[in-house]
């Protein structure tokens, strides 16, 4: 079998992979580049898939495409769509594809994203159960909404929140089933969680707490969900947002160091030479937190694609970036910035309150002789996100500034 050769090979056609390809092309226009994707089309807006305006047709469907065929052709980037990479021989620098073909490379980027975790209960293979990862998933949900009457959402995170708004806008009876005792526990505190729940309930969404799905009932299609406590929720559609993660055994077998993601240093280099990883798939050394973490948001993937691309053309650049994610719905805007995890050495400074419908929590790391802002959760205070991101990045000592941090009328840009 003929082997195709490319100087730069990128496995993954999402925003990380595509931005890497673009960055490489700008600096090494002579080097051949190929992007392999298991989806048949070029870069599209995966984040748009869960936005109500898009789903309900207020935004034309074709707005989802971010790079068309002409872009790949104009930039001399070979797009190999509908092909899944099955094995990597990093010693001989050959990637094998599911169709039996092989590609040899000089430099390789793995930007394969993450996989939606699936329910593993009896009945989980029935029709009418949806996950949201790809355009095809999105189209399936868009079609199902047209005839469904009652939906159950499993999972109390971003997908659950955004899908709930969408389903209510489409007029479906909607119930969210969460394992936690309040929405978005423990990423948010109970006050923040209850603010979100109030907005959901005011819109008519039912929430069932501390519940887990035991079984899905129905002939071929979903008719009801049975929970572990025996209660039954009638529904003809289920959307699951219960986490993300891929089976990385085959990469491990190929010699890669993996954990929940593909492990990299701060240059997004994996342990195997001339192989990088970027985007949701990468579990990378974060210089700002001084920890190895894995993130799943658009802006991180875009930035990591760019930095990986620079490193692949020998412009050695560490990835140093304060990440953030925002969502809005039910009249609320919610943002997560930096590292929002709590711990024994972390103090939470509150800004505003649920009562004034504007509430932020700033997570401060207490290092003894100094205190630094690590992260924040913001509800209806998204205008402060940029200022907080700067505080996190600058690592300034806020020991003497805790009052200002906690004063909702103090402009954080002044710090």
């Amino acid at each position: 079998m003929d082997i195709n050769r490319y100087k730069y090979l990128i496995v993954g056609g999402g925003v990380a992979g595509t931005t890497a390809a673009e960055t490489i092309q700008q600096r090494d226009s002579a080097g051949t580049i190929a992007v392999v994707s298991d989806e048949p089309y070029g870069l599209y807006s995966r984040v748009m898939l869960s936005k109500p305006n898009f789903f309900l047709g207020k935004i034309p469907f074709d707005e989802v495409w971010l790079k068309g065929n002409e872009w790949y052709q104009k930039n001399n980037i070979a797009f190999l769509g509908g092909k899944k990479a099955t094995a990597i021989d990093a010693k001989n620098k050959i990637v094998s594809l599911a169709d039996g073909s092989q590609i040899s490379y000089e430099k390789l980027l793995l930007a394969t994203g993450v996989c939606a975790r699936h329910l593993e209960v009896p009945g989980a293979d029935k029709k009418g159960i949806y996950y949201l990862r790809t355009l095809e998933d999105g189209k399936a949900i868009m079609a199902a909404i047209k005839s469904a009457k009652a939906a159950a959402i499993v999972g109390g995170g971003f997908i659950g929140f955004e899908m709930a708004e969408l389903l209510k806008m489409a007029g479906l009876d909607t119930t969210i089933i969460i394992r936690e005792s309040y929405f978005w526990e423990p990423a948010l505190d109970e006050d923040s969680g209850r603010m979100i729940e109030k907005a959901l309930k005011d819109a008519g969404v039912k929430i069932i707490y501390k519940a887990e799905v035991a079984e899905i009932i129905g002939k071929d299609s979903v008719e009801a969900v049975v929970l572990k406590d025996g209660s039954r929720i009638e529904c003809d559609m289920i959307i699951c947002g219960i986490g993300a993660g891929c089976d990385l055994d085959s990469l491990k077998d190929s010699g890669f160091n993996v954990n929940r993601g593909i492990l990299t240093n701060e240059y997004l280099e994996t342990n195997l030479s001339d192989v990088w990883a970027a985007g949701d798939a990468a579990e990378f050394k974060d210089l700002i937190l001084d920890e190895t973490i894995q993130l799943g948001n658009w802006v991180n993937a875009h930035e990591q694609g760019r930095i990986a691309g620079l490193n692949m053309v020998d412009k050695k650049t560490p990835f140093k970036f304060v990440s953030f994610y925002t969502t809005s719905g039910f009249g609320l805007s919610i943002a997560f910035v930096g590292d929002v995890r709590l711990g024994p050495d972390r103090i939470v400074v509150k800004r505003g309150s649920p009562e004034i419908n504007s509430y932020a929590r700033i997570i401060v790391l207490d290092k003894g002789n100094r205190k630094e802002v690590e992260g924040a959760t913001l509800i209806n205070r998204t205008s402060e996100m940029s200022a907080i991101a700067k505080l996190i990045e600058s690592n300034i000592d806020v020991s003497q500034k805790l009052n200002e941090l906690g004063d909702p009328n103090f402009d954080l840009k002044m710090l």
């Binding site: 807006s45 935004i59 707005e63 802006v299 875009h302 925002t326 205070r381 996100m385």
Partner: protein
């Protein structure tokens, strides 16, 4: 009626004369802010606003527009012709 906000740009030597944000398309992904925090910021409705339309050069502004996952940043030249998205 599209929900847009326009920001005239008067940067010396620039081909871009106007930045428009489509607030219906904007989802607060904030990748534009990551490219240039001097130009863009979020308001309290989680939508992007332009704080300084003249802060950066054309190349950086185009990069910011291209990073947007919903193409909510629209750029126009002096003759009101749309430069991006093409």
């Amino acid at each position: 009626m599209p929900n847009t906000k326009e920001y005239p740009r008067k940067k010396e030597g620039s081909k871009i004369a106007k930045i428009v944000i489509d607030r219906d398309l904007c989802i607060g992904a904030a990748s534009c802010i990551a490219v240039t925090g001097a130009t863009f910021e979020l308001d309290n409705e989680n939508k992007v606003i332009v704080i300084d339309p003249n802060a950066v050069d054309d190349e950086t502004l185009v990069m910011a527009a291209e990073s947007c996952p919903t193409k909510a940043i629209i750029l126009f030249d002096k003759n009101n012709k749309q430069i991006y998205p093409k």
